[in-house]
């Protein structure tokens, strides 16, 4: 009798010991992309306080330097180059520009990385958020109280044709040919300026994920578990150590306390979100967001307050969500259907979200429309 009881207890005990649950820890840095980079993972001896964390964050710094429009990296050199000049890139910037070209064509220009002049003109470039950089002739005393001069809005349009940028690879060296187009306004010559803000964070997440895959395999840690998050716009999920799926919440773009309006269960996929809540200002009762309409040179007048896309590659998702917001509701819905995307569009005025995702939990009072 006693042996039977002991045997039963041991049989019950062993499975419980096995399913003790893995904890997650978060490693944060605020050093890159002017935002928080978070690496959430199951701690291993080597990752907690070890070289892997340092290497991961150092890699993020390298990616940022390669893609930044400021400093001395390849994109900054492209922007500083004269019209028609050939600029040498590195592998990261070449890879990013190659993908950017694909996305520019796929979205018919709704995603356009050649809008750097407008990003700066409207006051959304790092020059304004970081308080560094030289003044420009088109600066206003207070850009939140005065619209840009129309001559710049119209004048910069010929410098935004990203299809005219030529990329080439020659014996493991990479180049970008700047278009010949240049414009002179009030005696100052302007050329195309690239801004990879709409794809850079996603590309960084993808590169870090590849690094983690290789490192985990090399260290024998098994499958990568946890996720990478850049700001609140790029979330690259690996496997959930519980096997269930992370519960991902989407923030209501008009909630002052950042309440979620939707929640999904997901793993091994990238979430990308873009919208007018990230950077915007109000002028004359109108909201001006950082997402520029390449056809007009002005902040988009889209009714989409936020767009979220689920993809296998975070960089692709990053570019797509920017494009969807810029397209406006009707065109974005057509695009989502035509390309079979898993996406959520939130229209703030209607308090309605449009989605192709099948399973989710609605939080709050937003209404749903299934596409």
């Amino acid at each position: 009798m006693r042996r039977v009881v002991c045997a039963l207890l041991v049989l019950f005990l062993l499975p419980l010991a096995a399913c003790g649950g893995k904890e997650l820890i978060a490693d944060d840095t605020f050093a890159y992309f002017n935002t928080r980079l978070r690496w959430v993972h199951v701690p291993h001896e080597e990752t907690v306080g070890g070289d892997l964390r340092a290497s991961l964050f150092a890699l993020a710094g390298q990616v940022e330097e390669a893609l930044s429009a400021e400093g001395e990296g390849p994109i900054a050199r492209f922007n500083a180059a004269a019209a028609g000049e050939k600029v040498e890139l590195d592998a990261v910037s070449y890879r990013t520009l190659t993908l950017a070209k694909e996305m520019y064509e796929e979205t018919e220009g709704a995603y356009n990385p050649a809008l750097g002049l407008y990003t700066d003109l409207w006051g959304f470039s790092p020059r304004f958020s970081e308080g560094e950089g030289a003044a420009m002739p088109y600066d206003r005393e207070d850009f939140t109280k005065e619209l840009p001069d129309a001559k710049y809005i119209e004048g910069f349009l010929p410098l935004t044709d990203f299809s005219s940028v030529t990329l080439s690879a020659e014996e493991e060296r990479y180049f970008a040919q700047k278009p010949d187009a240049e414009v002179e306004i009030d005696g100052v010559t302007y050329t195309m300026q690239l801004d990879l803000g709409g794809i850079g964070k996603g590309m960084c997440a993808d590169i870090l994920a590849e690094f983690l895959d290789e490192s985990y395999a090399a260290e024998g840690f098994g499958e990568v578990e946890g996720y990478l998050a850049l700001a609140e716009s790029s979330l690259l999920l690996f496997a959930d150590p519980r096997g269930e799926g992370f519960e991902v919440g989407l923030t209501h773009p008009r909630s002052e306390t950042k309440e979620n309006f939707l929640r999904f269960s997901a793993q091994n996929i990238a979430f990308s979100t873009g919208g007018d809540a990230e950077k915007s200002y109000e002028l004359g009762g109108k909201l001006y967001s950082h997402i520029i309409d390449g056809k007009t040179g002005c902040p988009t007048e889209s009714t989409i307050a936020s767009a979220t896309v689920l993809t296998d590659e975070a960089a692709r998702g990053d570019a797509l969500c920017t494009a969807l917001v810029a397209m406006g509701k009707d065109r974005a819905i057509d695009f989502i259907r035509a390309h079979g995307l898993q996406a959520v569009l939130f229209v703030a005025e209607e308090n309605i979200f449009y989605t192709t995702i099948e399973r989710y939990e609605i939080l709050g009072d937003a209404k749903e429309v299934r596409l």
Partner: protein, 150 residues
């Protein structure tokens, strides 16, 4: 030898057996607790609420963020700590956030309660400071890492 009568007479559980079984059951209970209620992420800061609604959040890595509303909120820094004053009319509470000690406490207030919130101890990963007359509360901001948000 015929042990069968001895076995039949013997009790099912001797005192030592009972102690042993009790220990195993206790161990099962502890394991169940960790399985059913796994530890979540610790406090990442504090939230300040007025009448139950969040008016201010302070994160150890990221600083403070105010929400526009009925309260007037002003911040100053002193000796590496953030002092935040919440006021409405003549009423006020001065809250100190200590990023190194990971604590929050009310330094000063002019509320009328007998258990004056300014005399409550600092809170860390748990606990709440309540200022009932001013309808203000300060509590830890915890984060469940299995529930990220975009």
């Amino acid at each position: 030898m015929n042990r069968l009568p001895d076995v039949k007479r013997g009790k099912a559980f001797r005192p030592l057996d009972l102690i042993f079984y009790a220990l195993i059951l206790a161990l099962i209970a502890v394991l169940l607790l960790f399985t059913l209620w796994p530890s979540k992420g610790g406090a990442v800061g504090f939230s300040v609420k007025y009448e139950g609604k969040t008016v201010y959040t302070y994160r150890f890595e990221g600083g403070g963020e105010a929400v526009e509303g009925e309260l007037t909120i002003s911040e100053t820094e002193r000796d590496g700590r953030l002092l935040v004053r919440f006021s409405k009319g003549e009423e006020y509470n001065l809250v100190e956030f200590d990023p190194e000690g990971r604590t929050a406490r009310v330094l000063d207030a002019n509320c009328s309660a007998r258990a004056d919130c300014a005399h409550m101890p600092a809170i860390g990963e748990s606990g709440t400071i309540l200022c009932v007359p001013h309808a203000l509360s300060v509590e830890p901001l915890t984060e469940d890492l299995f529930r990220p948000s975009l």
